[in-house]
């Protein structure tokens, strides 16, 4: 870790913070059409900031929806190239009344900056820009080649960047991707995420009688679409949440002993997790496996929503003709989404009651993935992280999905360093989203240090 870069970040904290505030004041909510002008302002803010720190070939790339921002700096011959990814769009801010300060008027309280997008992902993607500025200011050059690719649709499915990556592998040629859109496992604990679950998202529609029937006149003889749907879906898991679809666990590998040991060192507290994060009376999940294994390294099946029949106030005695559920299966590495979909469909067909037909529509499918912790870029990233934070880096997984990581692997053939500086209680997608200022500054230092070390 260079004392000079360290000092530069230290001396420019006030300005770095003011710039971030300007970025956060733009309500670039990607899902709301009325914010389209803000999307454009945010994209231009990113482009301008990249130009200002000396990135070249800066361009706004139009897409079917929101523009991508591209920039590069390729004057480090013989050195690796890093693809810096982030997103400038944010989630909607509602319910507004739960915010202590307005979501797009950043405020500092208790060492945190409160604003929509502060942690997810403006505050984190902007660290990459400030790391470039720091290194160029101190050294007059950069230790690695860099390509920035920043999108505005991460919160709405990311279709445009997926298409762009698939179609432009030459333009995006590089050695590793860097994504800062995750969190430290705990405050002060340098953390690299090396595993993500994939996701198969489906709609299941059940059809029973040809129309809603009177339950007095037909109850006892007519099949019920709602009951047929719940009866079938209920069979997909046992009472502990163990998925009953044959073959579903066939390709699931247990975590390696080293990974288990790393998780054991995290100090996970199940009682606090139940009380503070989940807030129910009991946890659920496969017996004999710890919570971290269950949410990071095991496939799970959830019904996200269900609707059918009469659901208004009061009573209506219909035997419903139709019912629909949203169902997903989270996948772990080595599970093939297509095989899982086929097994799920077969299970539903074999287990649906007579008189009720089930139809499955697949809305999206992405595999789970692991980054090899022994990959040189990961090792360098872990060292840089440890150097800045003064503690050994821990390797964790996330139970969520970041589809762009799969796209980088599939189309560019490169691994991704998931080096995030958020905290578990940052309130992503919730009111009062925050980002710790300490992590913002340490993040800039860590990213700069990673570039330095990776260039050696």
């Amino acid at each position: 870790m260079s004392a000079a870069t360290d000092a530069f970040v230290q001396n420019n904290q006030v300005r770095f913070l003011e710039e971030l505030k300007s970025f956060l004041r733009i309500p670039s909510i990607s899902t709301l059409p009325e914010h389209r002008p803000d999307i454009d302002r945010a994209a231009n803010f990113v482009a301008d900031s990249l130009r200002a720190v000396g990135m070249e070939n800066v361009e706004l790339i139009p897409t079917a929806k929101h523009p991508l921002v591209y920039a590069d700096w390729l004057h480090a011959p013989g050195k690796p190239a890093v693809i810096c990814y982030g997103h400038y769009d944010v989630q909607p801010a509602d319910p507004l009344e739960l915010w202590k300060s307005p979501p797009f008027e950043p405020v500092i309280r208790d060492g945190n900056i409160y604003a929509r997008g502060s942690a997810d992902d403006k505050g984190q993607m902007y660290m990459h820009v400030k790391a470039v500025e720091t290194l160029r200011a101190v050294n007059g050059t950069l230790p690695v080649n860099l390509k920035f690719l920043v999108e505005g649709e991460e919160e709405v499915g990311g279709a445009s960047i997926a298409e762009f990556v698939a179609k432009n592998p030459a333009k995006l040629k590089g050695d590793v991707a860097l994504v800062s859109d995750t969190a430290l496992y705990a405050p002060g604990m340098p953390t690299l995420c090396i595993g993500l679950r994939g996701l198969v998202y489906m709609e299941v529609e059940a059809t029973g009688p040809m129309r809603d029937l009177h339950s007095g006149l037909y109850g006892g003889a007519a099949p019920n679409a709602v009951f047929g749907l719940i009866e079938t879906l209920a069979k997909t898991k046992d009472g502990h949440g163990v998925i009953q679809v044959p073959g579903i666990y066939d390709d699931v590998e247990p975590p390696a002993p080293a990974e288990r040991a790393s998780w054991a060192s995290l100090g996970f507290e199940e009682a606090a997790f139940l009380k503070n994060e989940v807030g129910s009376t009991r946890l659920t999940g496969e017996p004999g496996r710890g919570v971290l294994e269950r949410i990071w390294a095991r496939p799970t099946l959830e019904v996200h929503g269900i609707a059918g029949g009469f659901t208004g106030a009061g009573a209506k005695t219909v035997i419903p003709a139709k019912a629909t559920a949203k169902v997903s299966i989270r996948l772990v590495p080595r599970q093939d989404p297509d095989r899982v979909i086929a097994a799920f469909k077969k299970f539903l067909t074999e287990n649906s009651p007579e008189g009720v037909r089930l139809e499955v529509r697949v809305l999206s499918a992405s595999p789970g993935l692991m980054v090899n912790p022994d990959h040189p870029a990961i090792q360098v990233a872990a060292r840089a992280f440890s150097d800045v934070f003064g503690r050994p880096t821990v390797f964790i997984r996330s139970g969520g999905s970041i589809p762009i990581v799969g796209d980088f692997a599939k189309h560019l053939g490169i691994p991704t360093v998931l080096m995030g500086f958020g905290l578990p209680d940052d309130g992503l997608h919730s009111p009062n989203e925050k980002y710790a200022l300490e992590n913002y500054y340490k993040g800039i230092q860590t990213v700069a240090h990673f570039f330095e070390e990776y260039g050696k």
Copy 2:
């Protein structure tokens, strides 16, 4: 059967139909608060029509919810008194897009009048009014004493009329009740219903985590309210529809041999029932019992609707905190609603998964009941029916519930003649509800004839 009453009905068909259309144009949907003004319009329509045919002491009786309409005519000393019951409220009309013509714009097609409430029950209760008009027009008087009691809450549990009947046995003193809210077994077949199922209607609410959670970050550890609900409800029946709640069948009596013989004479065709009425690939229900026994003489459990979590377009990966279902159990004579409710609640408590709490709210509860077919009023009604239709009257049961029949038995000590003129394919509670014009006119004749014969 008097040729004069017959001729009067014949000569006034056009006007009787236009009046019914005016009644049907009022969207008196009792379960939707925004239709409260229509409820009042419908109640006043009934009151005005009773005044117009010479009924006396017409009054709108306010209740906690929707008004009752009362009227009487008591100038036949020494003759029995008939309590004429009906309801002016209707079910909601959704899904609107499935109606071929708007639900509250009555249209005649193929000898039927199509509108919400045409058969259930406006078209049928209005026959009683027109029978009074006919008899008074032809004879200048009535052959029996009459008391009308027409409610506006039949489709929402009928709490107000139940309370009113319980509190006013003197005002409602009579010898028999007449209800036209059932159907002929088949076109042209005069039919008296002598058995009804009761109904326990409940809402079941499930609570899992304290808020909707991200299924990537918590899937595998956090309980899911939707899954907990469907998992528990799915256990209430086996794959054939046999209810699994312990004790549920304890008090269920098999139909008497004479009743079975009567059912066997009806010419029920299972294949046609499946194809024309139910319209699914298979029927369901308890093995070893015929369809008529299953829908008329066995308790059944249905889930009428379910809602929870994300049900919009596209994908949202939540673990839902809440879910709700509407559940009912149909009861047969001798089953005690309170015992059934207690058994159901106990079953849910014992079968709900850890981490999910279920709460049951009972919206209504009424027992099943039988009317003695040898009662003089039933015998007279059967004769009147046969005279008008020219065929022997058959005795059947209905799988539906008419709670007021139980209230009349309990508080007034009188039996009820269930003399209905609907048809099995009228589509009660469904889109395109209809009522056959022939049955509307024959119904008026039959009711008038019943009054004449019962007064002899």
